[in-house]
């Protein structure tokens, strides 16, 4: 859980840094991304319309009103999942890559066709995991699919893989109710891009239709901004990993 939240925030973060970015919703039938990005009322055409040639990209892409360089390609709410064909997706991605610096593909849950379609053309994958055994196990499987069934894998190349651990709750880790960052790193053995704390701010942001990275006062917003920085090779220490122990002085200062 947290893939769409992550796609929205990372996509927004890339655009904030001046890179022309499009976020594509691959979750045909659910349409979540446009809600989180607050553009659901502006959806006219969708990804499937473009694939079927019923609309062109220019008519379909929604330009974000807050951040320059940011566009959304919404998913269809009505069509069935088979509407996304590999050839169709490839054509759209090829056209987008002429214009955009980054294409962020928000994958549906699971390891089925929809998810495979979203990862097939990837150069890099950010695997979103929650600190629970079942979630980590699913991520392990998807990593296997990524390195065996993607286009790069078929060409004998390796897709760059990054781990994003979200809904991290240090109190519950300390209580032994959740896996720790170290546990997850040990099981998956891939590079850690970021740890996003569990936070009310995420819910608030999605209710407002604004990606949480724009809430720069919140710790999850800051954690996403750090993750985007690391994508550009910046060395940023991971934050919000430990239970905050408010000392007397800190409490006095209202921190």
């Amino acid at each position: 859980m947290g893939k769409t939240t992550t796609s929205a925030s990372i996509g927004t973060g890339l655009a904030q840094r001046g890179h022309k970015t499009v976020i594509i919703d691959f979750d045909v039938g659910l349409r979540n991304l446009d809600l989180i990005m607050g553009c659901e009322r502006r959806v006219v055409y969708d990804f499937v319309n473009v694939i079927n040639g019923e609309a062109n990209l220019k008519q379909t892409l929604i330009k974000d009103k807050r951040v320059d360089n940011l566009y959304i390609l919404p998913a269809s709410q009505t069509r069935d999942k088979d509407a996304l064909t590999q050839e169709g997706v490839e054509k759209v991605l090829d056209e987008l890559s002429e214009d955009f610096d980054f294409i962020v593909c928000d994958s549906p849950a699971g390891i089925e066709r929809g998810a495979q379609m979203a990862l097939y053309f990837a150069d890099m994958a950010v695997v979103v995991t929650n600190p629970e055994v079942s979630s980590v196990r699913d991520s392990d499987r998807i990593l296997g699919i990524l390195q065996s069934k993607s286009r790069k894998a078929e060409k004998g190349e390796v897709v760059e893989e990054k781990l994003l651990l979200t809904r991290y709750n240090p109190e519950r880790v300390e209580e032994g109710e959740m896996l720790s960052v170290e546990d997850v790193k040990e099981i998956l053995a891939i590079e850690l891009l970021g740890v996003i704390p569990e936070s009310e701010a995420v819910l608030k942001a999605s209710n407002q239709g604004s990606p949480v990275i724009l809430d720069s006062d919140s710790n999850s917003g800051q954690a996403y901004a750090d993750a985007v920085g690391r994508l550009f090779g910046e060395e940023i220490e991971h934050r919000f990993l430990d239970v905050e122990k408010k000392g007397f002085f800190k409490r006095l200062m209202g921190a």
């Binding site: 390891i111 196990r137 392990d140 499987r141 990593l143 296997g144 699919i145 390195q147 065996s148 390796v158 099981i187 053995a189």
Partner: protein
């Protein structure tokens, strides 16, 4: 057929299956004993293909009704697909079940990839990957021709194998993730990264894993009881040599999370810690 397009591709493969070595039958105990075994390792056995071996089976009568046995297998959640090592005298009894009688373990055939054109058999030798498990047949008329081709290949292959002194190990450098399976056919397997929970690595020879083993490792899958498993960190769901296996529960008090060396001694798996001081 030469001018038209190839209608199908016939690919063979090694499928790991469970062998049920029948000792006594008929028996009123059969189903309950089988269910008991299956319940000990439900994940391993659930919906598994089973080959019924009659190698150790010597009945009093030449006529044995195997149909209830097959029904019992299904009842226990197994899928019998063939008989093996069938004595001449029992052939009739086996035939009535509709399942094929395969040759004994030692002579079992291996992987073949055959295209339905006339490529010379010699060029069709498998590359040792053995990861394809697929069989698509769209034109039944082609069956015969292909069968013939397969036979030729098997023969060619056997000849070549006899001449080979040494087969290089298969080396895997990236993690083997849950849901993936790697098979080193006719050689050793070396894995330089972890084998995740839910992943399976198999070899006809030895298996070396220079990282945690959290999935399943099966060495000597064609019956080589001298095969061994070495791993840097033993956390396996299952280890097996020549079909004899141990599950994680039993492993937990033996070199768990340590570097380990697994081999068969007197038909029992032994697990030793490497560098135990």
């Amino acid at each position: 057929m030469s001018s038209s397009e190839v209608c199908f591709q016939l690919k063979g493969s090694n499928i790991t299956s469970i062998v049920l070595e029948l000792k006594q039958y008929p028996s009123t105990e059969f189903l309950s004993q089988l269910q008991d075994k299956v319940s000990q390792a439900p994940q391993l056995f659930a919906d598994s293909a089973v080959v019924i071996s009659l190698e150790k089976f010597s009945p009093e009568h030449t006529h044995v009704d195997f149909k209830p046995l097959i029904a019992d297998c299904f009842e226990a959640g197994l899928h019998p697909m063939a008989f093996r090592s069938v004595d001449e005298a029992l052939l009739e009894s086996v035939k009535t079940t509709g399942l094929p009688a395969l040759p004994g373990a030692a002579r079992s055939a291996s992987v073949h990839a055959v295209e339905a054109d006339n490529t010379p058999a010699a060029e069709l030798l498998p590359n040792g990957d053995g990861e394809q498990v697929e069989m698509t047949l769209e034109s039944p008329r082609e069956e015969e021709a292909v069968e013939e081709a397969v036979t030729t290949i098997i023969e060619t292959r056997v000849e070549i194998q006899e001449k080979l002194v040494h087969r290089p190990a298969k080396i895997i450098e990236r993690p083997v993730r849950g849901g993936q399976q790697i098979y080193a056919e006719g050689c050793d397997l070396i894995v330089l990264a972890q084998v995740s929970e839910g992943a399976e690595v198999l070899a006809d020879g030895n298996i070396h894993i220079y990282a945690p083993l959290r999935g399943r490792a099966l060495a000597g899958v064609k019956g080589d009881s001298n095969a061994r498993i070495f791993c840097q960190q033993l956390e396996a769901e299952l280890v097996s040599v020549a079909g004899i296996f141990i599950l994680s529960d039993e492993l937990k008090d033996k070199a768990w999370k340590q570097a380990a060396h697994i081999q068969l001694k007197d038909e029992r798996l032994t697990i030793a810690q490497i560098n135990d001081k």
